[in-house]
Amino acid sequence: MAKKILLIEDEEIMVNLLQKKLTHEGYEVLIARDGKEGLESIKKEKPDLILLDIIMPKMSGFEVMEEMQKDEEIKDTPLIVISNSGQPVELDKAQKLGAKDWLVKTEFDPKEVIEKVIKQIGR
């Protein structure tokens, strides 16, 4: 059975690209367009991995992580942040909130995202 990846991202084109790439690699991809929808989906779908953007409408990526920490059931779900920014302060904060990795969109490409995903949950 294909592993389930939840992509929480508001940028349409990023969603399209990553969805295509991940599906191509054999993963099942679930999509959420904002933080709030994302959190609900995590609780409901229990994905194997979460790819999380930070700046989003309704609820930011950090808020999603904070909420996850409160829920024993989902708090240990592997999570990779995909953000436009990458300040050390943010990285630190994300790490404390349980993020496994952090990707700055301008510095990485979809191929490298796949590499990081495989590293976390395998194929």
């Binding site: 084109i13 990023m14 295509k20 436009n84 302060v89 301008t106 490409d109």
Partner: protein, 528 residues
Amino acid sequence: MPSGKEELITLKEDLKKTKEDLFGLEGYIEEFSLFLPLAVCTVNPLHIITNINKAFEELTGFSINESIGEALEEIFKKDSKVKNIIKEIGKKKKTLETELTLITKKKKEIPVKVSFSARKDNEGNFIGYFTAIDEIVELKKFQKGMEEKVKELEDSRKALFNILEDIEEARGVAEDEKNKTLAIITNFTDGLLFFDTNNRLSLVNSQAKKFLKVNKEKILKKPILELEKFGNFKSLIKILTEEDKDIFRIEFSPRKGLALELSRVSISGEEEKIGELVILHDISRDKLIERMKTEFVSLAAHQLRTPLSAIKWTLKMLLDGDLGKVTKEQKEFIEKTYNSNERMIDLINSLLNVTRIEEGRYLYKPTLTSLENIVQFVINSCENQLERKNIKLNYKKPDKKLPQVKVDIEKIRLAIQNLFDNAIRYTPKGGQVTVSLKHDKKEIEFSIADTGVGVPEDQQSRVFSKFFRGANVIRLDTEGSGLGLFITKNIIEAHGGRIWFDSKEGKGTTFYIAFPIKKEFEEFLKKF
């Protein structure tokens, strides 16, 4: 008893003798008066000249014949004084004296003193005057000289008065000027403080009082060190006492919301120093604008990143064939577009770095590491570039192991990467880049020398300025943001290090970086 005849004879003889005596006396008097240098004449009660002497003739030019029988006043200038003296003569006074103007036969006017002495006959009847006329030209000359002198003195007294008046006027003007200057100083928009040579505060204008929140009366005449306890003086005094030379535009903030720029200049009088002027310029508004500018750039750069990463990912997936097959030609174009996009991302990242430097939140995590590792990492990442331009890299490794340094590895890597990028970018094909790492007790020195185009001498002072690009490299290579060296310098200095360079246009450039060794660096870090 002698007879009458004998008596007569005796009398005749006596008479003859007396006549002879008298004659002799007259001759004597005549001779005397002849040689007497004083002009003398006799006048009768009707002031008719009855006799004159030789000196009279010489003085007046009138001969004895021309003189005798003439009225005395005829030889003088007819003025009121002559009329007076003639009147006086009539009063038969014993002596008279006056100054008159003699008119000689040749019509020359000579100032004279005329003295009269009354003559009496045997019976004591008044018979006229002896009149002496004394030339007083010399005296007059002297008098005139005196008068001139007096006039001169008076003139100089007047001149002196004039000078005094001028001085008074000048003093008035100076006073006005002083008042004007004081008014300007008082109402100046910059804060001004003046310290005399004893370092006492001798002038403070109202703007400075406002900036520092102090009462003028309390602080005037106070020595600089005593001022610390007043108002917001503390930070100001710290700067003033730490630096003993002139100060040019040091920023400081006496309190929240107020940013000032402090300058200090020595003020000299004609010859020696009379004190120091401290100028406080309000830059709060400039700071605000600067911050807004930085925030704007930061925001804009962040906003730009989102579409740039979308473009990057799309192109990358196209190139990787994830979105279907592309022809060779299409691939070439996509590659070029991808590279342009990467350049844009680099530029945005540089801009963001600059805004972070300006916001003072750049340095983050100092970690203990070896610079050798960082340099090696950068060299490895440059291999492709070096190869493409056929540039030979010479790496002079340290002869002994370098001491570790505590640095923000990412930032130092970026700083050194920037220097490598420049060296390679501005060195023509087939050139050479020489890198060296060495250390002494205090510092580790990194240097990178190229055989590139160099920095024009007149632009060398601006090398580390934001957006600076040498005139010669703009022509050579249109890429490059002019931010690299600005960022590098800030990174190095934030680590307590130094950066400098040597360059000769057309020959090449060498950049040097010196890092303090751990112990010194820890000292440096304690300040934060």
